[in-house]
Symmetry: C2
Subunit: 104 residues, 2 copies
DNA sequence: CAGTTATATTTCCGTCAAGTTATATAATTA
DNA sequence: TAATTATATAACTTGACGGAAATATAACTG
């Protein structure tokens, strides 16, 4: 799964919410339907996309399908931001420097 | 500009490329047109969106409009990833631990 | 086995974003 | 001032996405 596709997948707010909910623990489809305000097919559709991106894994327990977070693919996207971090970090440094100077 | 909107804006590959190019230095619209394979109106359209999100600023030099990166708004999105970082960080720790054990 | 529960898939529809072409605006130059 | 250069905006088209409703599949229960 390439960077473009991953960004696109994460651009959908409900999908980000699903991932957020899965951070705590694995969840059944029904739980997610209850948590988000979306129809069951809507949830399943998003889960399929997350599955294909390997952002989640499933295991079956009787009729229930339990989804678990797999955060690894996020690392790639996270890395895109790395070169930009220095900008707000520097800005912060500047502020600190300014505050230090004001103390004199 | 809220998180949802920012994610959506960054989901577009050409917009990310524009930001990437602006990391080095400010650029005119014409330069960006030359760098990306998009029509001039296409570039201008993306620049407008980036401007509204305050991800870029403009200054005018004669006919040229020079765009400069403003990375600050990215911080908000970057923060979304923070709670997920431990997952791949832990995975890395596990690997290191495993490697250490293998050395015995 | 019939009915029920849990989830997935299909189909259809409306919306919206991204691209292009054409046009407008603004500054420069001959 | 007319022509040219640089950029922005408008109008239009098209494709893809997200949502709901309907249907299919699979497992459980009585």
């Amino acid at each position: 799964m390439n960077e473009d596709k991953l960004f696109e997948i994460l651009a959908e707010p409900n999908r980000r919410k699903i991932l957020d909910y899965l951070r705590a623990r694995e969840r059944s489809v029904g739980e997610l339907v209850a948590l988000l305000s979306l129809s069951q097919p809507g949830i399943s559709k998003h889960l399929r996309i997350l599955r294909q991106a390997e952002l989640v894994t499933v295991r079956k327990d009787a009729q229930q399908h339990l989804y678990r977070l797999n955060a690894e693919p996020l690392q790639g996207i996270h890395d895109w931001f790395e070169p930009y971090r220095q900008y707000w970090t520097n800005k912060l440094d500047d502020l600190e420097k300014q505050l230090d100077e004001e103390e004199q």
